[in-house]
């Protein structure tokens, strides 16, 4: 079982959900993103989702776009992202990467899988790759023992949902709302229904993303999902802070609030 699977099992045994925290590689700088992710882990984030920045991120809302643009303007490259994976994985927290397909294709699909595995990454979340187009990735992830997380959505038909989770390994990513990433004032009513549908099709843990920004929302999602995925709200801690130290303080505080939230699931 992968390190992510272990984290989910442990949380399940504790009667809580896993907290997954997302941060773009190289935002605000390579060293700054390593410091941010280490701070998140110290404050209670269980799993780091490291997003490799891409110039045209169609699933991401304005906060992640802005952070990605800052990272790319700073010159971050895919090889740097893999170096960050290695540094953060050294904390012991599982690190899963997330990115759009083109950066992987240009790096070389098998080379990326090989280098991600050797950096200690657990796998890859692919927001714009559906299993029908994923033959090369299926082979490379098998060859290098990596997890594969494809997305399911409220609009997925039952047949597609079954087909998609059959290709997943590690965990399934349920996009709770029809829309791009970004914290919202309330989480979605569609999410519990979607999670229930996924559970009919697989025993894999289900993470819910898109929209969570507070401890209370994290608790609500923890009431029905195995993992609570938070991105924009954490990134905003750094974007809105006057300086790096202030950003890390805010990031620690929110991480701790969310970690408390996933430990108090609301039915």
């Amino acid at each position: 079982m992968s390190r992510i699977g272990v984290a989910f099992d442990k949380a399940r045994a504790d009667g809580r959900a896993v907290l997954v925290g997302c941060m773009p590689a190289g935002f605000p700088t390579v060293e700054g993103s390593i410091a941010a992710m280490k701070a998140m882990v110290e404050a209670g984030v269980d799993v780091i989702e490291l997003e490799i920045p891409y110039s045209d991120p169609v699933m991401d809302g304005p906060v992640i776009q802005r952070a990605s643009d800052i990272a790319l303007a700073g010159g971050v490259r895919t090889a740097d992202a893999l170096r960050i994976v290695e540094a953060v994985a050294a904390t012991g927290a599982p690190v899963v990467t997330m990115t759009y397909w083109n950066p992987i294709e240009q790096y070389g699909v098998d080379a990326f899988a090989r280098d991600l595995a050797s950096a200690g990454g657990t796998g890859l979340i692919t927001p714009d790759l559906i299993p029908e187009e994923a033959d090369e990735w299926l082979a490379a992830s098998d060859a290098h023992g990596l997890d594969r997380t494809f997305l399911v959505a409220p609009s997925s038909t039952d047949a597609r949902l079954r087909m998609t989770v059959e290709h997943c390994r590690g965990f399934v990513y349920a996009t709770a709302i029809m829309g791009v990433t970004g914290a919202r004032s309330r989480t979605s009513d569609a999410a519990p229904v979607l999670v229930a549908r996924v559970r009919e099709a697989t025993d894999l843990p289900v993470g819910v993303g898109l929209g969570v920004g507070t401890g209370a929302q994290a608790g609500t999602v923890a009431g029905y999902a195995d993992g609570v995925i938070v991105g924009s709200a954490l990134i905003r801690c750094l974007l809105d802070a006057p300086d790096e130290a202030g950003g890390l303080t805010a990031l620690r505080a929110l991480s701790a609030e969310l970690a408390e939230g996933v430990r108090t699931p609301r039915p």
Partner: protein, 411 residues
């Protein structure tokens, strides 16, 4: 590919939208249901006599097609070829794009959706979409890069007059590719009641195939008109290529005619060697952008590189996947045309024929000029070249005026 649909070997595209190694669907799962719905509606419509009759009637009575095929004799004399201009510039809204927009608007209504969204660069596709939305009583939102809303203020006003909401896009490079990203994001969030009316033969399956089929009338008409006018097929067909819908529209009917050479002219900007261009096939590499695998202007890490062209309509860092395939298969030839070459052809057509072409279409005119001598030498006579005059140049008067330095200083 793991597609299970039974597709006859060699059919292009296959049932999953692959043109050889290009095309396909690289989209968020949330959009797959909408793409499947669109694909089903489109296939049903294309075999439904009532849909086809309605589409034909709209094209004839509203858009003003078939467009003329015009013998441009004075222009021909200057370039040493017999040039026949496919006058898509005379269509309602001033370009070939109205064909695609009417087809997709009809489909939108059939799918029971009430809202259309579109991306636009120069504003031509935005205006065409706003036009169809007014005609079909659909809500219309057009995403346009903030930079482009300033460069093309007149088209912004036209869209608003037609009742559309224009949203300036402030992310990324604030141009066409970012407008497309923003439209995709809107679609993911509003897919239940919204159709994304993509303006070119790019994007995820079924858009490349569907858009081609809605504009293929250009080539069907031109082929028959050329036979009528000259008694033979042309030696070559020339079109400009940005996303590539006008080129596919005129190429499609000629693809089986092995003797007809197909030329696509990409925007070479300041020259492909300068890196400031929009020639995705000539100067790009295979990659994935906006839902499809095709030739893309990108760096070694797969980050999209900004394109450059004097023509806003060709200023896009990708190209429709069918062009990528026609290039790889060798059936069509793609060559770059620089800003300067396009503007020289623009001026030549103005002065010889009294027709002000779109700067986009001027790339095709310049291309005809470029290939004429070699073709003439090869054939031992003047070649007959059909050029797709895909749009009129009214929208470009300011750009061209500045380029030629013929504008009076502002008072």
């Amino acid at each position: 590919m793991s597609a299970t649909d039974p597709t006859p070997a060699g059919q292009v595209p296959d049932a999953a939208g692959h043109f050889g190694r290009f095309g396909g669907r690289f989209v968020p799962e949330a959009l797959v249901a909408a793409l499947d719905e669109l694909d089903a509606a489109y296939r049903k419509a294309m075999s439904d006599e009532s849909f086809l009759a309605e589409f034909d009637a709209l094209l004839r009575d509203y858009a003003g097609t078939p467009s003329l095929l015009y013998r441009a004799e004075r222009f021909s004399a200057k370039i040493g070829a017999r040039v026949l201009l496919k006058r898509e510039d005379l269509n309602h809204t001033g370009a070939h794009k109205v064909r695609n927009v009417l087809g997709q608007a009809l489909l939108t209504r059939r799918m029971g959706k009430r809202r259309v969204i579109a991306e636009t660069g120069a504003g031509q596709h935005g205006v065409a979409t706003a036009t169809a939305a007014a005609l079909f009583d659909l809500e219309c939102v057009v995403y346009m890069g903030e930079v482009d809303t300033q460069r093309q203020a007149l088209n912004v006003a036209r869209m608003r007059m037609l009742g559309a909401t224009v949203v300036p896009v402030t992310t990324g490079s604030r141009t066409l590719k970012d407008a497309m990203n923003e439209a995709m994001r809107d679609w993911v969030a509003n897919v239940d009641d919204t159709h994304y009316l993509i303006g070119t033969a790019a994007g995820p399956h079924p858009f490349p195939e569907m858009v081609r089929d809605f504009v293929r009338g250009i080539g069907d008409e031109a082929r028959a008109q050329c036979l009528d006018l000259t008694g033979a097929l042309p030696d070559a067909v020339a079109a400009c290529v940005g996303g590539g819908s006008n080129a596919l529209g005129i190429f499609h009917a000629f693809v089986p005619d092995a003797g007809v050479r197909l030329y696509g002219f990409e925007a070479g900007g300041e020259g492909v060697e300068t890196g400031r261009h929009a020639a995705s096939i000539t100067g790009g590499t295979s990659g994935v952008l906006h839902g499809t695998r095709t030739y893309v202007l990108q760096n070694a890490d797969g980050q999209t590189i900004e394109s450059h062209s004097i023509s806003a309509g060709l200023d896009y860092p990708g190209v429709g996947p069918e062009h990528a395939w026609l290039h790889d298969s060798g059936r069509a030839t793609y060559l770059p045309v620089t800003d300067a070459e396009a503007m020289a052809a623009f001026e030549l057509l103005c002065r010889t024929e009294g027709i002000i072409p779109a700067i986009e279409s001027s790339h095709a005119l310049a291309g005809a000029l470029k290939i004429a001598p070699a073709l003439a030498a090869e054939l031992g006579r003047e070649p007959v070249i059909v050029v797709n005059l895909s749009g009129r140049g009214d929208k470009d008067v300011h750009t061209a005026g500045e380029y030629f330095g013929i504008l009076d200083r502002e008072q």
